[in-house]
């Protein structure tokens, strides 16, 4: 409640300053003006076109990387051979800023959707692998001992002990990953796209349409909130034992 009031206060102050007229609306449009632009864009359907394009890229990049990253993380965590092969590769490639690879990906996959999905996927893959791997390695050994003494074999231990105990770390990876996906989709769309929130923000800036630009930024912040809300909900459903 207090946080809501403080945000409301911030907006009122912003509106007030903008209306005073000392600052050109080109640099700082009033919140109401941004809202008005937003409503116009919603009515014309333009904004949904951009949101849809971005969401589609995030969805495929994020979900493929989440699944593959989880599987690879489990492999690395559980099999020492995979670990000794995989860890150096991950360590060497992880620090590369993923957006730097985009030109290469465009060269390989074309300027269309695949290169954008791939760059998002790469960005999400690494935090997923690293989190899942850490989760698997940090399973309480006494739980594995308990499962063995109750008659579990290796396969059952993976499914019934290691996976559930790594689940909180898997979700930590998803939360990190979704933030990265949002960042990369905007970056990729600013480099090469004809639709998407990133593209919309960039073209609005070129045309000095500051209200449109600011509306794009608000959409991004809302998308970020919605994504983490959804992941938190799923986490609560999947991890009912978490305090």
């Amino acid at each position: 409640m207090v946080s809501f009031l403080s945000i409301l206060f911030l907006f009122c102050l912003w509106e007030f300053i903008a209306r005073l007229g000392f600052v050109s609306p080109l640099f700082l449009p009033a919140p109401t003006a941004i809202l008005e632009t937003g409503i116009k864009m919603a009515l014309s359907g333009e904004i949904f076109h951009h949101i849809g394009a971005s969401l589609w890229r995030i969805f495929w990049g994020f979900s493929c990387a989440a699944v593959i990253g989880t599987l690879v993380g489990i492999l690395l965590g559980f099999f020492s051979l995979a670990e000794s092969i995989g860890n150096p590769i991950i360590a060497a490639t992880y620090p590369i800023p993923k957006i730097a690879i985009l030109p290469l990906l465009i060269l390989w996959l074309g300027i269309g959707e695949y290169s954008k999905i791939a760059v998002i996927g790469l960005g999400v893959f690494f935090p997923m692998v690293i989190n899942v791997y850490t989760g698997v390695r940090n399973v309480d050994p006494v739980l594995i001992k308990a499962a063995i003494s109750l008659g579990s074999d290796r396969k059952r231990i993976i499914r019934k002990v290691i996976l559930p105990s790594a689940l909180p770390m898997i979700f930590a990876g998803l939360k990190l990953g979704i933030g990265i996906a949002l960042l990369l989709v905007v970056a990729a769309e600013m480099i090469a796209a004809d639709a998407g929130i990133g593209y919309m923000i960039l073209t609005s800036a070129d045309l000095m349409q500051t209200t449109k630009l600011m509306f794009g930024i608000s959409i991004l912040s809302m998308l970020g909130l919605v994504f983490s809300w959804i992941i938190n909900k799923i986490e609560k459903l999947c991890i009912p034992w978490k305090t």
Partner: protein
């Protein structure tokens, strides 16, 4: 069914060639339905011995023989760990059903088993709770029920009550004694608490300090079921005295080093 621990030695080797001799030539027999307690100063290799008997750790030499087991379809032993080792993502009843699940018993049978042991350890009404919602004493009850639900030939307990406060511990000792009367399983119980050893055990084996050797084995001739007030009986005190005598020498030489 008896369990014979024969010439068991264990030496740990770390990667850089350092060696820790934890156990030296352990010979002990857990007779049928016997409550055998192993006491010894901490670090003397008690957990190591229990892990070897549980099959969780290989002995460096020597062996553990389970004699006269007619049914090889289920694990010979179940372990109750000091750290409870409950699966946090499973409710009380699901934790207890873990062993029967792994043995492939049908659902209704698993539920009957869970109900039976939930009753036995006094957890009725807590079936759907998760471990983090339980007190330490209740967690250890779940762990005992989970171990018993697998119907082991030998129940292994590694300082199961040492993480509990003194009052809970006393209550749990009494309850364990009652559970033992009901199930009459063979038990190998590890503790560093002398009073607990005398209260629970049919026999008490005293381990020396590292490397652990069997210093002496004392038969506890006190009536069963053991009641709480038995700790005041003169016989109880003289047993405790006797065991303390063995351990004190160990502890003293440890202090003087």
């Amino acid at each position: 069914m008896r369990v014979v621990i024969e010439h068991v030695c264990k030496t740990f080797e770390d990667g850089s060639g350092g060696k820790t001799e934890a156990l030296r030539d352990i010979n002990l027999t857990n007779e049928e339905n016997e409550f055998l307690v192993v006491v010894g100063p901490s670090g003397c290799g008690k957990s190591t011995l229990l892990n070897i008997v549980a099959g969780l750790l290989p002995a460096t030499s020597g062996k553990v023989i389970f004699e006269g087991i007619p049914d090889l379809s289920k694990p010979f032993t179940s372990v109750v760990f000091q750290e409870f080792a409950l699966f946090p993502w499973r409710t009380v009843e699901k934790n207890i059903m873990y062993g029967p699940e792994e043995r492939g018993l049908p659902k209704n049978e698993r539920e009957d088993i869970a109900r039976h042991f939930i009753d036995m350890v006094g957890l009725k009404g807590f079936e759907k709770r998760y471990p983090h919602q339980l007190s330490g004493g209740m967690k250890q009850r779940v762990s005992i029920a989970r171990a018993l639900a697998n119907d082991p030939w030998l129940l292994l307990m590694d300082e199961p009550f040492s993480a509990l406060d003194a009052q809970t511990r006393t209550i749990m000792q009494g309850e364990l004694s009652q559970i033992y009367e009901k199930t009459h399983k063979s038990v190998l119980y590890i503790t560093h608490n002398i009073q607990e050893a005398v209260f629970l055990g049919d026999r008490v084996a005293v381990l020396s300090r590292r490397p652990g050797r069997v210093e002496s084995v004392i038969s506890i001739d006190l009536p069963r079921p053991r009641e709480e007030n038995i700790v005041l009986a003169p016989e109880f005190l003289s047993y405790a005295e006797e065991i303390w005598g063995h351990i004190r020498d160990q502890a003293k030489s440890a202090l003087s080093e």
